[in-house]
């Protein structure tokens, strides 16, 4: 297999609250022989917020992000955040389908020495492993099958929808996370909130709703026998991990549920220690559970 090489778009959270995701993404990619080169000068994708203020700007900043990757000679950019993936892919789709919009954006970019060409695809870590790297190849690299670990996969919305932008799998019943976890030797559990929303994008105006939903996610995952939630999105991670103590206040039953980033799960199977995957950087501590479950 030719060496996989991606322009890497970390997204804001990896620079702050989800620093552990950057660590785990970079370490697992290196271990798998996947080259990541951080896009120089990338900015926030707009986070499903900026288009609510300025629609054109929401497209333009991502045209710039993609153009930076194109300029650096990449034909594929990798993200580890559902929303970054959606924002970048939405911008790309609109630019590719709307010539006038593309011309307008380039009118702004060209004086900066940039041009959006449309030659760089956008993918997500999960898709890259399933589609580009291949699960059979991944299986061969597994040093520590996670056979004692039961995982509840929490997809998040933006890696699935809208399907005309994302299109990787059917949003009514996606399978990629289960397939990946299976390749790592973990046991998948089905639970009611597998396709729920973490509520992150309105976590202030609709905090009650998010806390209630995430509490139910934890509870139903526990009831299904899960040891942890796994998510491909740092925003889902924040909403469920960082706010879990607030969710708990709404429930009598103990909802405690550690949440792992997808690359952390991959890393554990590749033989990294929880500390190497910076799992100690979560609010809900996963270490005691992992100590028991990792053999």
């Amino acid at each position: 297999m030719a060496k996989l090489r991606y322009a890497f778009f970390p997204g804001c959270t990896l620079e702050s609250a989800a620093g552990e995701l950057k660590v785990s993404t970079e370490k697992t990619c290196k271990a798998l022989g996947i080259e990541l080169a951080e896009v120089p000068g990338w900015t926030c994708c707009g986070a499903a917020q900026i288009q609510d203020i300025d629609d054109f700007l929401g497209v333009a900043i991502n045209a710039r992000n993609i153009a930076l990757a194109e300029k650096a000679g990449f034909d594929k950019m990798l993200t580890v955040c559902n929303t970054c993936t959606l924002m970048l892919r939405t911008a790309k789709k609109r630019l590719d389908e709307d010539e006038a919009l593309r011309a307008k954006v380039n009118e702004a970019l060209v004086p900066m020495g940039l041009r959006y060409e449309g030659t760089c695809e956008i993918t997500h870590y999960l898709w890259a492993l399933v589609q580009d790297y291949g699960l059979d190849n991944l299986k061969k690299r597994v040093k520590r099958p996670l056979s004692n670990l039961s995982v509840a996969n929490f997809y998040g919305c933006h890696i699935l929808m809208p399907p005309d932008v994302m299109g990787f799998e059917n949003p009514r019943n996606p399978r990629s996370m289960e397939m990946l976890a299976e390749a790592l030797g973990a046991r998948n559990v089905d639970f009611e909130q597998r396709l729920a929303c973490c509520g992150f994008h309105a976590i202030y105006p609709a905090e009650c709703e998010a806390l209630a939903s995430n509490g139910v996610s934890c509870l139903t995952a526990r009831a299904a026998g899960a040891d942890c939630l796994v998510t491909p999105c740092p925003l889902c991670h924040m909403a469920i991990d960082m706010w879990q103590a607030d969710s708990q206040k709404r429930f009598d039953a103990d909802i405690t549920m550690p949440v792992l980033h997808l690359p952390q799960l991959v890393g554990l199977a590749l033989g990294f220690t929880p500390k190497e995957m910076a799992i100690d950087r979560h609010v809900v501590k996963a270490a005691p559970m992992l100590e028991r479950k990792l053999t």
Partner: protein, 315 residues
Amino acid sequence: METITFNIKRFDGERTWNQEYRLPRETSTLLGCLTKIREEQDPTLNFTSNCRAAICGSCAVQVNGSAFLACETQLDALLDTYQTTTLYLEPLNHFPVVRDLVVDFAPVEKGMRKVDAWLCPSKERRDHLQSEADFHKIAKPADCILCGVCVSECRELAYDDGTYLPPAMMNKAYRFERDSRDGERGKRVLAALKNNLWKCIHCEQCSSKCPKKIPVADEVSYLRRRAIALGETKSEGARHAFSFYDDVRATGLLNETMLALRTEGLGKTVANRMPFAIRMVAAGKMNPLHAPKPVPGIESVRKLYEFSQKMEKEV
């Protein structure tokens, strides 16, 4: 021949139970299967349908936790999607259930009243003209068949206290706000705002599941931009969006440390967020002393802001 099991949630006004029916697998729509069950196995099973052609909006039901229009959904497609021979059918979420799969759509009329979902013709209007471009602005939202799929799938409504405006009504608000013939532009924006416009979580369920492919989540963004254009910038949702907008201009990156403060204001943050902040700092997730430095090339980002602000465009 393969046998397909339909596990249907029943309700008779008092009691709820699940009942299983079996049919041989054959090419049929989901509605065809339901009709066959009612006519050949159980006349007490109730569901609604009329046109069979995806225009009347009567027959939406949930299958395996997701809403479909029964008349336009092939059984084979469902079995393929769910990789199963057992389908679980339930009535739509977020509507009162009358019996079995039948729900009461009366809340739709109430929702329409909340956003004045009708044309208020401009008083000055003397002709009956509308440009083709203006027609195209309302053509897509006017496709709505009020089937309730988006309402059922909406993740905000799943845990809402009953005050949020369902996506179908967001679409109505958008449809009339954008009608060039209307004399009360802005009215539906303010109505949507009053009904928690900023609570939409952009989960994209509405846009993704709509049988008519109406991009409702994008319409919500439009309504928010219009609300801001009307000077409505003080709500938490608007302030939250502005935090992102301002941070990207300042440094290219979000300053998470300041997010709560700027969204909720100093008072509420101090009152509510201290335990949260302490948790973050303890986990190493937040460093109150750290503020992002501007990314390389931040000048070009700021130029994009200037470019966009100078551009002539609709909100």
